[in-house]
């Protein structure tokens, strides 16, 4: 009885069941806040799979970026747009769900058939352990240098774009700050924290 293999198998089964059930719950649950928290759980289970695949650096990056940044961003978006609204019923929604479910099930069967029936010529899982981080660093600064720099430009553009897109269009009144009798008016000015139509 090889205890390492059976431990790996048990970890894999637990993580994959968390991933499968969590992703189904993310898609199917009514309450979007539950979906967001379960999405964090799915991300962490995926990071666990990366650990099983001997990739500790990518697992850490997954936790930091997905759970720490993307999931928190999604939660903030839910808080900002959280409004109970009655969705208008549209006709054909049921059949649309069924048809798309059929298409996705067909895609799933196709992918399963490909992945099972193909004879993968595998050397088997190789573990380079902690050396993986060094190897990734070498890759990033030698043969993947151009994509690495492009990724930094992409992140800068995404940051500026997010700021520009999400900025409120509020025209601040021009006041003369040096004028002492106008100091009161600055305090009295009601600058709305939210734009008008989001308060309705």
């Amino acid at each position: 009885m090889n205890i390492a293999y059976s431990t790996e198998l048990i970890c894999f089964l637990v993580l994959s069941s968390v991933i499968v059930s969590g992703s189904l719950a993310v898609v199917l649950l009514e309450n979007i806040v539950y979906s967001a928290f379960l999405l964090g759980g799915v991300f962490m289970a995926v990071a666990g799979l990366y650990l099983l695949l001997n990739a500790s650096f990518v697992a850490a990056a997954q936790i930091l970026v997905y759970v720490g940044a993307v999931n928190v961003l999604i939660l903030f978006a839910i808080m900002l747009v959280n409004k109970k609204e009655k969705l208008k019923p549209i006709k054909g929604l049921k059949s649309r769900k069924l048809i798309s479910g059929g298409v996705c099930g067909g895609l799933l069967i196709l992918l399963l058939r490909v992945s099972i029936s193909t004879k993968w010529s595998l050397p088997g899982p190789t573990s380079i352990g902690e050396e993986a981080t060094e190897r990734i660093g070498e890759h990033l600064f030698t043969d993947y240098l151009l994509p690495f720099e492009l990724a930094s430009i992409l992140l800068l553009m995404a940051m500026i774009g997010a700021i520009v897109l999400a900025r409120r269009e509020v025209s601040f009144p021009i006041d003369n700050i040096n004028d002492s009798k106008d100091q009161k008016s600055l305090i009295d000015k009601k600058i709305p924290l939210l734009s008008e139509n989001s308060l309705k």
Partner: protein
């Protein structure tokens, strides 16, 4: 008997999990009416692709690990996509006061 059959987790198992995650993401992408859930489904699909890249990197390319570098880039692009997508969502919500995907029909013909 079980002692002989048990080995390392086969590559196919990872591929099956990734395929399931991807199909769930596609279904959610098509059927969600909440725009935030659409973004969550896109993240699920990106994670499925990442699992595929990582498992092939470990099983086939174990000493060079190009797949791990690729998944780092995918994670970067996913973070940028989430930031811009949620900013677009906020400005849409400010203009339309709804997050129902069915009401965003400006480009529909």
């Amino acid at each position: 008997m079980l002692e002989n059959t048990i080995g390392p987790v086969p590559l196919q198992a990872y591929l099956i999990v990734a395929a399931f995650l991807f199909c769930t993401g596609v279904w959610g992408l098509i059927n969600s009416r909440n725009a935030v859930r659409v973004l969550m489904s896109i993240e699920l699909m990106l994670n499925a692709v990442n699992i595929n890249l990582m498992s092939f990197s470990s099983y086939i390319d174990g000493s060079i690990i190009r797949g791990q570098v690729f998944s780092i880039f995918v994670i970067t692009v996913a973070a940028a996509e989430a930031a811009v997508g949620l900013a677009i969502l906020l400005s849409l919500y400010r203009n339309r006061v709804t997050i129902d995907m069915e009401s965003f029909n400006l480009l529909k013909w």
